[in-house]
Structure formats: C-alpha cells, structure tokens
Amino acid sequence: MSATLPGFGVAIIDALIAVLMLFINLLPDAIAEPFQYRFMQRALLTSMLVGAVCGLLSSYVILKRWSLLGDAISHAVLPGVAIAYLLGLPFFVGAFATGALTSLGIGVIERNSRIKSDAAMGLMFTAAFALGVVIISQITTATHLMHILFGNVLGVRDSALLLTLFATVLALIVVLLFYKELMIYVFDPVQARSLGLNTGFIHYGLILLLTLTIVASLETVGIILVVAMLITPGATAYLLVNRLHHMIWLSTLIGVVSAVLGLYLAFHFNVASGGTMVLVVSAFFLLAFLFAPQRGVVMRWRRRVSA
C-alpha cells in the first residue's frame, strides 16, 4: 500500500515527525528515550492526531447525545473492513461505506416506523457487526483484522497515518469555519431551521465526519475502543467548563494528552496501546467526576459539609 502513496504524503509525515522531535529532544533523556525509535515516532504522531480529532468531535457527540450512534458506527465498520480485505481494496474504503450506510439505515428506520432511535441503532449495528464476524470467520490468515478490532498504534501503516491526518485537518477546518452553524444545530435544531439552515445537510455532514474519524482511528485504538475516545474527552470537559468553545478545546487537549500518555505507558509496561489510552482518558474522567471545581462529587460534598 505504501508503495502506491504519492511521495509528498510520506514527506508530510517526515516533516511532522521532525517538528515533533524538536520538542521531544527538549525533554529529559529518560522520557525521550523510547522516541529515538522510528516506529515510536510514527506512533506518537498518530496518537496525537487520533486524540485530537476524536477529542475535537467528542464535545458534539456529548451535547448531541450521540454516544450510542458513535458506538453503532464503529461496530458497523467491521463488515466493510472484511469485505474490503476480500476484494483487495484499502480497508478504509469499505469501512467508510458500511459505516455511512448504517447511519443512513438508522435514520430510515426511525422515520419510517414507530421504532425509536436507540432501538434502531442497536439493531442496525449488531446486524452489521454480525455480518462482519461471519465474513471474518471465512478469512483464516488475517492477522491485521485483529489490529482493526483492538488497534495497534505501533504498526500503523502510512495509509492509515495519512488518513488520520486528513480527518484531523478536515474536522478542524469544519469546526472553525462552521462553529456557529454546528452550535445552533446542536443546541436548537428548530431555531436552525427558522434561520433557513439546511439541518439535514448539517446532520448527515456531522455523521459523515464522525464516520471518517472512526475509520481513521481504527488502526490506532480499534473498533471496540474508538468510541471511548469519542465520548470520554467531551464528557470530562463537560464537567469542567461552562462555555462551548472552552469545552471543545479542553476535550481536544484531553484527547491528545490521553493518547500520548497512553502510548508512553503502553510502551513502558509492554501492554496494549489502545486499551492503555482508553484507561488514561477514563482516569481523567474519574478525576473530573470527583474533583471538578463546581460539579465534582467530592467538591459538592465538601461545600455541603462546610455550609
């Protein structure tokens, strides 16, 4: 796959890694040591990008109550990966196709029957996941399918790294340029309509962006855990701040820090990287849940005691 990539893609990766290393080399040797390896440098760049794009969108996932939708899309990606493997296509083509089809299917069921959205999501994504499991059971020598289920940031290919970079840049541009439209749509879709906004376009645009992000994060954290990176950073930030733009930047930061810290710990203790990243971000959430200045459980309890 990497042989077919245009040279400038690889050049961009090399340039970004060079910039990262400028900062890494400022750190004490004991911390910087693992990043002398080329595969760790690539893993660091990938982790930062995945953390950033997932964190960025996770504020919208939380506020729009799309956690289950994120879960649904990430599972629905599996049959696409398997089919793409059988056809010899890049995995993300199939993954994006079945992820997007499933989110459309959920909308179709919701609008054309009395089935509510939670059940529509549940039945669509389990059906898609089941199809994926059945197809994969026919593929005997598919070690990289395991990577897609559970992720392996240490073995991320150039194609996946570039896709992650593309998703991150696109999400950043969309959020910056259409901040107002997204805010009004997520906060009050009826008001968005009264201003003449095309809410259907915004709705499906946001879902497609979410699907792209999930597909781009697959090789890093895997199908099962990617949704944690789309929920937990936003949920953590939601407990800490009162403004949407603060929430978005904080959740992005939490995403990046968790991914990097997770990668480092995974290397240090020689454990699965995707799982470690999710454990780190979950630890951040627990800290916020207990100690957030206004909303933390412990802080509220202390205020009650002292009052």
Binding site: L63, R114, L176, L177, F178, Y179, K180, E181, M183, I184, V186, F187, D188, P189, V190, Q191, R193, S194, L195, G196, T199, Y238, V241, N242, R243, L244, H245, H246, M247
Partner: protein, 272 residues
C-alpha cells in the same frame, strides 16, 4: 381588486390547504389561514389541537404533507433565509445544561444576519462578531431586563429568566415575523408583564407577533387578532368574539369528545 403588493403589506402569513402529519397521525388537516401583518396574534386551542405543530411548520422544522405556506408574499423558505422569521420555543424543550453564556445564546439569533453579510466574515467565530451584532444583542437583553447577566451560564437562570433570554434571542434577530410558543407559561407576574410590554412594543414597530397561548383571558385582553384552533381553524377574527365563552366551550367539548372517541377506539383495538 387586491393586488399582490397590497396583499404583501396586509398579510404576514397565507396558509392554503395545509396538512401536517406528526408521528404518522394527521395533526392539521386542510387548514386555510391568513394572518394580518403588524398585529399581535393569539393562537388558542385545547391540548393537542396542533398549535405548536402549526408554529413549527411556519418555522420549517416540520414538513407539510400538502398545502402551501407563504410569508410576506414569498415562499416561507425565502423569508427564513432572509432572516425574517424569528422563533421562540417552549423553554422546557431547550437543553439548559448546554455550555453557553446568556450573551452567546442571544447572539445566535444574529447568525442568520452574519451569514447574509457574505464573504469571509460569515466564517468568523461568534466572539469576533462585529459591533453592530453585539449592539443588537445588548439592546435585546436590555429590553427584557437581562443585560446585567451577559456572562452568566444559562444553566443557572430561573424559569422566568430563561423565557426572557429566549425572547431576547428572537428580538435580536430583528425579524418582521415573531413566532412564540407559549411565551407566558411558567413565568411570574413581573416577567409576564415585561414580556407583554415587549411584544406590544414590537407590534408598534410594525412587526407581526404570533403567540401560541393557553391563557384565554390574556389573549382576549392583549391580542388584536385571535385564531381558535382544533386540528383545523375553528374561528379567526377579533379576540372578543372569536374567543367568546360559547366558542371556547364548544371547542373544548369537541376536543374532549374526539379524545374520548380516540381512546375508546384505542381500547377496542387493545382488547381485540
């Protein structure tokens, strides 16, 4: 002969043969309705009569199955895109845990106008909105006596304050047509008087104010024009006669009977 131009001047809303389904049952069936421009219009009807549905169809969030809606003589969507339709939802339908300040919420009423400025400015973050938009926000908040709470998170507002902030968002839009869903429910006397004063002021500036309300006494007292609705338009005209005791009782009874009928049909189906 009534020319098109004259019609535009006199009529804010022209609805013809409008049917709207919601959750696969027909809530509005073949409705014809004209609303005069520059007046305070009260829309009254029993629960489930389709008042909010009619409002949300004007706003554009519900698609009619049949019929046409024209606003200020143009297709409704054209008027929406021109920022001429402002909307105030019932405050229970808004997520008040959303991380916004009072100022940010009201500024979102200006988003249509910011978009219409065109060029690169439409892509700027709301915090970079030009002075004219910030001024409109402050004026709207001052009108509802909320200009001391610009930076307050919306989750800390009381019920009456929430109503007033949502009204300020609609005012900030400076639209010709204001559509308000139950602006007086759940507010204290002081807020109610303040809101009604603001609405009368809007009317005197030549705007059309359409409010859905349960409060028949206030509709009789404050409105210039009344619409009585029960799945279709039962009556329109001056509030005193349209909302007379007799009309109200008759409509309420009809609604009660049709609900009873639906319930017994439902029971029959359940038993079958």
């Amino acid at each position: 002969m009534v020319t098109e131009a004259l019609k535009q001047k006199l009529l804010a809303v022209e609805i013809e043969g409008l049917s709207v389904a919601y959750d696969s049952s027909l809530v509005l069936d073949d409705v014809d309705l004209m609303l005069p421009a520059g007046q305070l219009v009260a829309m009254v009807g029993p629960n489930g009569a389709g008042k909010s549905t009619l409002l949300r169809t004007l706003v554009g969030s519900l698609k009619p199955t049949r019929g046409s809606v024209r606003i200020h003589g143009e297709a409704a969507e054209v008027q929406r895109r021109a920022g001429q339709i402002a909307y105030m939802p019932q405050h229970e339908l808004v997520d008040w845990d959303f991380p916004l300040s009072v100022e940010e919420l009201v500024l979102s009423g200006r988003y249509g106008r910011i978009r219409m400025e065109g060029g690169w400015r439409r892509f700027l973050l709301p915090s970079m909105a030009s002075k004219s938009h910030q001024r409109a926000v402050r004026e709207a908040l001052a009108a509802v006596d909320m200009d001391q709470q610009l930076d307050q998170p919306i989750e800390t507002l009381s019920g009456g304050q929430r109503k007033r902030v949502l009204l300020a968002r609609a005012l900030a839009q400076q639209a010709r047509l204001l559509l308000l869903d139950e602006p007086l429910v759940g507010v204290d006397r002081r807020s109610e008087e303040l809101i009604m004063a603001v609405l009368r002021d809007q009317r005197s500036q030549g705007r059309t104010v359409v409010m859905v309300t349960h409060d028949i006494a206030s509709a009789r007292r404050d409105a210039d024009f009344a619409v009585l609705i029960n799945r279709g338009v039962v009556g329109t005209g001056d509030p005193a006669s349209t909302l007379s005791e007799e009309m109200i009782t008759r409509t309420a009874t009809a609604a009660w009977l049709s609900n009873q009928r639906k319930r017994s049909e439902h029971d029959a189906l359940e038993m079958a």
